[in-house]
C-alpha cells in the first residue's frame, strides 16, 4: 500500500498480486509428477495443453463474462496453423507457436465484433456458429488439411536447437509445461492489472462501466483476442507434441468439454482452470482404465457430486475450506 493511503488511515492488506507459498508448491507438482509417473508423460503433456486451453477460456468467461460454446475454433486454428507450417518445412516449434497465436488472435479479433453485438444467448450461438464453420472448412479442404484422415507429415525441429522431441515425450512434457507456466505468469499479471480489474468490473456490472468512462467493447475485444491467442497456442502445442492434427480439434465436443472443465474447477480463478483440468483429465484417465465400457457414467457421477458440494467448483470449495480453518484462504 502506498504511503499516502497509509497516512489516510488505510490498513495495509495482503496484495493479491504477490505470489503465495501455496502457489509455489502447486508449480512443483508437475515436476514431481514427471519423476513419479515417468510412464505417463503423454497424459501429463495433454493435461498441460488442456490446462492452457482452459486458461484461455477462463480469461474470456471467468474474468470478462463472455460465454462461448465455440472456443475450439481458436484451438483448432492454432493446431492447423502450426501443423501446416511444420508439414511444409517450417518445423521450428517456437515459430509455430508464434504463427498460431497471431492467426488465432486475428480470428478472435474479427469474430469479437460479432460476439460483442449480442447478449449471452446470442454469444453462445455466434461462437458455436464460427466453430462449426471452421470444422466444416477443415473437413472439406482435404488437400490442405487431410480432412477426416487428419493432417499428417508434421516434422517438428528440435526445440531451441539441441532438444529433440523424443519417443518418450520428455521434451514434449517440459516444452508444454514451460509454455503453460510462462503464459500463466503473463495471465496472472494481466488479471491483477488495472485492465484485469476493469474486466472484473465489466463482468460484475456491465451497465455501470460506461458511466465510469470505460470503453466496454474495446476492453472485451482485447480480452477476447488475447483468449483466442492463448487457445491458438494450446492447439499448436498439441499439433507439435503429437505430430498430428485430427479434425476433432475443432469439434463441438471439445468446446463443450472445456466449458465443463472450467466450471468444474471454478471459473474466474486462474488456478480453477488448472485444477479443473487436472481433476477432469485424471478422472477421465483412471475411470476409463477401471471401467473401459461405462466410464462416462462414473465421470458424470463425479461431476455431479463435485458440483453438488461446491457450486463454484473445486476452487470455490477449497477457498471455503481455507476460510473455515482461518488460513489465508485459497489462492487466487
Amino acid at each position: 500500500m502506498t504511503t499516502l493511503a497509509l497516512q489516510a488511515g488505510l490498513a495495509p492488506v495482503r496484495r493479491a498480486d504477490h505470489w503465495r507459498p501455496a502457489e509455489l508448491v502447486f508449480w512443483l507438482l508437475p515436476v514431481a509428477a514427471y519423476f513419479i509417473f515417468p510412464d505417463n508423460l503423454v497424459l501429463l503433456t495433454q493435461i498441460a495443453i488442456t490446462a492452457l486451453f482452459c486458461l484461455s477460456l477462463d480469461l474470456i468467461l471467468g474474468y470478462a463474462g463472455i460465454v462461448s460454446l465455440g472456443h475450439a475454433a481458436f484451438f483448432g486454428l492454432g493446431a492447423y496453423a502450426a501443423g501446416l507450417l511444420a508439414a511444409h518445412g517450417f518445423g521450428d516449434p517456437l515459430l509455430g507457436l508464434g504463427v498460431a497465436a497471431v492467426v488465432a488472435a486475428a480470428l478472435g479479433f474479427v469474430t469479437s465484433l460479432l460476439v460483442l453485438r449480442g447478449a449471452d444467448l446470442t454469444r453462445l450461438m455466434v461462437t458455436l456458429g464460427v466453430a462449426m464453420m471452421l470444422y466444416e472448412l477443415a473437413n472439406k479442404l482435404t488437400p490442405i488439411t487431410g480432412g477426416v484422415d487428419g493432417l499428417q507429415g508434421i516434422e517438428v525441429l528440435p526445440l531451441l536447437g539441441p532438444f529433440e522431441f523424443d519417443l518418450y515425450g520428455k521434451t514434449a512434457f517440459w516444452y508444454a509445461l514451460a509454455v503453460l507456466f510462462v503464459l500463466f505468469w503473463v495471465a496472472r499479471r494481466i488479471v491483477h492489472s488495472p485492465f484485469g480489474l476493469s474486466l472484473k468490473g465489466i463482468r460484475l456490472n456491465v451497465g455501470r462501466m460506461p458511466a465510469l468512462g470505460t470503453p466496454v467493447n474495446a476492453r472485451l475485444a482485447a480480452v477476447y483476442t488475447l483468449g483466442a491467442a492463448y487457445a491458438g497456442i494450446a492447439g499448436a502445442l498439441l499439433a507439435q507434441t503429437t505430430q498430428f492434427v485430427a479434425l476433432d480439434v475443432l469439434s463441438f465436443n471439445r468446446s463443450a468439454e472445456l466449458l465443463l472443465i472450467l466450471v468444474l474447477g471454478g471459473s474466474g480463478s486462474l488456478y480453477g482452470a488448472l485444477i479443473g483440468t487436472i481433476v477432469f483429465m485424471s478422472a477421465h484417465h483412471l475411470l476409463s482404465e477401471l471401467n473401459p465400457q461405462y466410464w462416462q457414467f462414473w465421470l458424470g457421477a463425479l461431476l455431479v457430486v463435485i458440483v453438488l458440494f461446491a457450486r463454484d467448483g473445486v476452487m470455490g470449495g477449497l477457498r471455503r475450506i481455507g476460510a473455515r480453518f482461518g488460513a489465508n484462504g485459497g489462492t487466487k
Binding site: A8, R189, S193, L204, N205
Partner: protein, 250 residues
C-alpha cells in the same frame, strides 16, 4: 451567462409516446440545479438522454459549450459529465477501495494498462483513498461492497461518480431507499460536494430539494412546466396544482 449543461429542443419518442417533449434546459456553471416532477414526468428519460444512454429523436445536448449529442456514454464521462444511479449499480464482489480505484484508473487513462499490478499505480490508489476519506468511507475501504449498509452503498455511488472528477454531476435520486437514520450523513455529504462541480439533482424528496437547490426546473409530462428559484417554485400555483396534496415548504 456561462452554462455547464444545456439541452436544445430535446425530444424523445418511444413509438407514439413522447417521453421528452421539446426540453430546453440551461444549467449554469457551479449551480445547484434541481429537476423535480411527479412520477412518469420523464426525469429518468431526460437523464438517460443527457448521459448518452439513450439517443434523442431530435435536439441537442451541449456540455460546457460543446455539442455532445453524438458521443457515447463513456466519451461524455471523459468530457466531464458523471452520474449516479437511482438504483445502486455497484460492484458487489469488489472491495470499496478497488471499485473506486477502478473508477480513478479510468479517469487517469490507466484502465487499459495490463502489465503492472493495480497497487503499483500509487497515484490512483491514493486518490481513491482520499475520495473515500472525504465521504467518510475509509474505514470500510477493504470491505466488499455487498457487505455494507444501503446508506453507505449510496455514498459509493457518489464516490464512483466523483472519481471521474466531473465538471457536471447528475445525481439521480441520491436519497432513494435510504432509511431516515442514515439519510443525514448522506445529505451532509451531498451538501459538502465541491462548489466548482455543477450539480443537477433529480429528486422526489422536496425537503432535500429546497434545502439544497438554488434553481429548480419542474418537469411535467415530458416538458418543462416552469423554472425558477426555490421561493418562486414554492409559491407557483401551477406547481402547487401538479403537486396537489403534497406539502411544499421552504
Amino acid at each position: 451567462m456561462n452554462y455547464a449543461l444545456q439541452t436544445r429542443n430535446l425530444v424523445k419518442k418511444f413509438g407514439g409516446f413522447v417521453a421528452t417533449n421539446d426540453v430546453s434546459l440551461n444549467v449554469e456553471a457551479g449551480a445547484r440545479h434541481a429537476l423535480i416532477g411527479p412520477n412518469g414526468a420523464g426525469k429518468t428519460t431526460l437523464i438517460n438522454l443527457l448521459t448518452g444512454f439513450l439517443e434523442p429523436t431530435s435536439g441537442e445536448v451541449i456540455l460546457n459549450g460543446t455539442n455532445v449529442t453524438q458521443l457515447a456514454q463513456h466519451q461524455r464521462v471523459k468530457r466531464g459529465l458523471a452520474r449516479t444511479f437511482q438504483i445502486n449499480r455497484l460492484f458487489a464482489d469488489l472491495t470499496v477501495l478497488d471499485s473506486v480505484t477502478m473508477a480513478v484508473n479510468e479517469r487517469l487513462g490507466l484502465g487499459a494498462r495490463f502489465w503492472k499490478p493495480v497497487a503499483s499505480y500509487a497515484e490512483a490508489v491514493d486518490e481513491a483513498a482520499h475520495l473515500l476519506a472525504t465521504l467518510r468511507l475509509l474505514d470500510v475501504a477493504h470491505e466488499k461492497t455487498r457487505n455494507l449498509a444501503y446508506g453507505k452503498q449510496r455514498l459509493i455511488e457518489i464516490a464512483l461518480a466523483l472519481a471521474a472528477k466531473p465538471s457536471v454531476l447528475l445525481l439521480d435520486e441520491p436519497a432513494a431507499g435510504v432509511p431516515t437514520s442514515e439519510s443525514r450523513e448522506l445529505f451532509e455529504s451531498i451538501a459538502n460536494l465541491p462548489r466548482d462541480v455543477t450539480i443537477l439533482l433529480i429528486e422526489h424528496d422536496m425537503d432535500l430539494v429546497f434545502r439544497f437547490a438554488d434553481q429548480i426546473s419542474v418537469l411535467v409530462s415530458g416538458a418543462v412546466l416552469t423554472e425558477g428559484t426555490p421561493e418562486f417554485i414554492a409559491n407557483n400555483p401551477k406547481v402547487k396544482e401538479v403537486y396537489l396534496g403534497e406539502a411544499i415548504s421552504v
